[in-house]
Amino acid sequence: MSAVGVLALQGGVAEHISILEQLGCDVKEIRTPDELESISALILPGGESTTLISLLNRWELTSPLRSMGEDGFPIFGTCAGAVLLSKEIDEKEHEVSQNSLGLADVKAVRNYFGRQTCSFLKSIKVTGLAEPFPGVFIRAPLLLPLSDTVEVLSSVEDGPVFLRQDNLWLSSFHPELTTDCRIHRLFLESQGILKGSG
């Protein structure tokens, strides 16, 4: 099995690595286009989306990642990572989204729930998981589907927070900030990277 990549320019990188290692994956940190060779899937961690967009461009990762995503390569973005995957960001920020990856038919509304004092924990129901998942929402975006091919895997009362469009997975919460591996397992199993545990 080839390694699962984690974009390691900024943000909650170590947390994703720890969960992937618990699942028995080999993990590779990605900072340059060369490092994208020989990985089977990629995680875009949470962090600051404006910082990540600027660093992806600076280190020439934007276009190789766009091509990979368009060719069906599995990519999972959490929080800021989900913002990077979204075709539209907020209302008027076309410039931002043009420089971003913009792969999934999703509109991300950044900081939808408010500033840090409004960050929250909430137990959420997720399609494909028998038991609820502990959702950690930190200055989280709301993720609005823009096409019928986007599947909503979880919602809170304000709207969708976990989406899937074929090879692209987007969560507005942080599964990496828990010790619960089920969301990562779900993603990797659906892409044929981890074998189902039955």
Partner: protein, 297 residues
């Protein structure tokens, strides 16, 4: 449904700092600075009226910034906005929380309001970052509820030597504690003046229970990368950016250096042609009573 949400929890407070890792937090005094910082790739800005080097020169009592000034910065940027309160000044902290600031820095850069006690940070739903010069101090602050730690360094000097001293003190003590036999932990907790459960956590995990940033005197991309290679999670840059010859360029270079801190080729490239760095101060020329790192207990 709404009441099934838990706001202001420890996970959310600590979690925001985890999302700032590998990033640069920049001091800004105007909305224009804040925009420059955001465009350069800052993960957050620290809104304040005077950068530490000006506080050092102008003297007087340094207090929390005017709420209007902070509001102007909050309206300008999408990234998190932090602000400073004085050590022990829990009412300044209440005001900052009411303004929905994203992180409060209970900071030695401002004039302390209490010579004995820090703010009880557990009382707040907004997370706090605090400075530390050694492991005992870091664990006392975490015991009081700090969700993020930074080195104190010596703010406003453009001299990284104190930040290095504090980083080595904290990280060295963590390494030592990792291999200390369990029966010695209580005595170490007593000697450090740190809560026993936190000493035990460090012994078991080999790290602080919260994110640990560098701050105080960083002025160049190389300074920032040095702190990252020493093992810290990210950096604060105060006077170093907007007191330099070309703030936009230097800010961007420091962000790039932190994202690729272990690549000397990249560091060589981003360090080129940045214009004048801020003029530094030798720490030995600062009298003891003017050293900011001595504030806090």
């Amino acid at each position: 449904m709404k009441n099934s949400r838990k706001e202001g929890s420890w996970e959310a407070k600590k979690g925001l700092a985890q999302m700032l890792k590998g990033g640069v937090i920049m001091d800004v005094v105007t909305p224009e600075h804040a925009l420059i910082a955001q465009e350069a790739g800052a993960v957050a800005v620290m809104a304040l009226e005077r950068v530490p080097s000006d506080i050092r020169i102008q003297g007087g009592v340094a207090r929390m910034s005017d709420p209007d000034m902070i509001r102007g910065i909050q309206e300008q940027v999408n990234i998190p906005v932090m602000a400073k309160c004085r050590i022990g000044h829990f009412v300044e902290a209440q005001i900052l929380e009411a303004m929905q600031i994203d992180y409060i820095d209970e900071s030695e850069v401002l004039t302390p309001a209490d010579e004995k006690y820090h703010v009880n940070k557990h009382d707040f739903s907004v997370p706090f970052v605090c400075g530390a010069t050694n492991l005992g101090e870091a664990l006392r602050r975490i015991g009081e509820g700090a969700a993020m730690i930074r080195t104190k360094g010596e703010a406003g000097t453009g001299n990284v030597v104190e930040a290095v001293r504090h980083a080595r003190a904290v990280l060295g003590a963590i390494r030592k504690l990792r291999v200390t036999p369990v029966e010695e932990l209580m005595t170490i907790a007593k000697e450090m003046g740190a809560p026993y459960d936190l000493v035990k956590y460090v012994h078991e995990n080999g790290c602080l229970p919260v994110v640990n940033f560098a701050a105080g005197g960083l002025a160049t991309p190389a300074d920032a990368a040095l702190m990252m290679q020493l093992g810290l999670d990210g950096v604060f840059v105060g006077s170093g950016i907007f007191k330099s010859g070309n703030p936009e360029k230097r800010a961007r270079a420091i962000v790039e250096a932190v994202s690729r801190f272990d690549s000397p080729e990249v560091l060589a490239e981003v360090s080129r042609n940045l214009g004048e760095a801020m003029v530094g101060i030798n720490i030995s020329t600062i009298p003891d009573e003017e050293r900011l790192a001595n504030r806090g207990w």
